[in-house]
Amino acid sequence: MPPELEPLPSASPGLDRTDGLDQNDGLDQNDGLDQNDGLDPAPALGQTAPGLQARMDQEPAAGDTIRQIMAEVLETMFFTQAELTPCEHGWLAAARCARIRFEGSHCGEMLLGVAGEAADTIAASFLGLDAREPTGAQRDQVIEELSNMMCGALLSHLWPESKLTLASPELLAWQEWPGTGALHRCFLAPEGTIAISIRLLSRTGEPGAVTGPAEVAEVA
């Protein structure tokens, strides 16, 4: 069981839950969500929202959107390309990883893992430096920035009518999220492999409906 969703660091003091971030505000029935998504009364802490779609892997557009956003972010901001690749997770034990949490109309978290050698090269591309020039701190900041861009762009594309607050990214070890409704993809860039997982959480930090097997991308 994952730890409870802690209060988000208030990087944006004007946008906390006291600032009118009603969970249903801004959502209408044309935002690509299941008709029940976000339109039911928000669950109180510790309660299950009846009919609330809480599995990212069942969000119809999420898989294609992750692929599209990853390609766009890497090409535009990191001057490289990546394609979906089968998931082989041995490398993730030594990967540089960042987690970013979000709350508002939807609560959840996204995890990004970048293979060690790829992290250095991607950081160099972002900063316009040679591959060995970025410091460890710069590399980590670039990974945080990549996770921030991926998460923000992904959520904005999936739910453009939503109100969301992203917390500051945190560097940590990769976590596998089997059976939690997480959507997971691996991408292969010339620099190395990149993994991304995203899942929705209830207000108490519980994963969404834990009703099925782990959903891991199957790539032809």
Binding site: A11, S12, P13, G14, L15, D25, G26, E72, V73, T76, M77, A123, F126, L127, G128, Q138, Q141, V142, E144, E145, N148, M149, C151, G152, A153, L155, S156, H157, W159, P160, E161, S162, K163, L164, T165, L166, S168
Partner: protein
């Protein structure tokens, strides 16, 4: 003639990236200043001339929303336009920042060409660059 630019972002690597993209875009930049949050930006704006402000939203200390609120209240935005750069492209966020007085909004990822177009749009012809 070149414009003086103030980049407000808590991420040093993002500030470096924006500087880099500004250079790639062909936009004429004179002095390029940096601030890590709204407090630092206000301090700079009190002592330095800035033609255009590029600001993030989520920052520790004074965030981008509060910065715009303060700049609007002080009348700074009438002469110095602000372009918001954020990962958040939700309609509500964009509307909110524009309502606070931002002249433009650009979501990440963005290309050098997009940055230049946005800058030319927010600057219009109301600001003659001094730098």
């Amino acid at each position: 003639m070149a414009y003086s630019v103030l980049i407000v972002d808590d991420s040093p690597v993002m500030r470096t990236f924006i500087r880099r993209v500004l250079a790639m875009s062909g936009f004429e930049v004179g002095e390029c200043m940096e601030a890590g949050n709204g407090d630092e930006a206000l301090a700079l704006l009190n002592t330095r001339h800035v033609d255009v402000i590029l600001t993030d939203i989520n920052m520790p200390g004074m965030n981008g929303e509060e910065l715009l609120r303060r700049l609007g209240a002080e009348g700074v935005l009438k002469t110095t336009p602000a372009l918001v750069i954020s990962t958040d492209a939700t309609k509500e966020r964009i509307s909110r920042m524009l309502a606070l007085g931002a002249e433009g909004y650009m979501s990440k990822p963005f290309t050098p060409e997009t940055l230049r177009e946005k800058l030319e749009l927010v600057l219009g012809d109301r600001n003659a660059p001094r730098a």
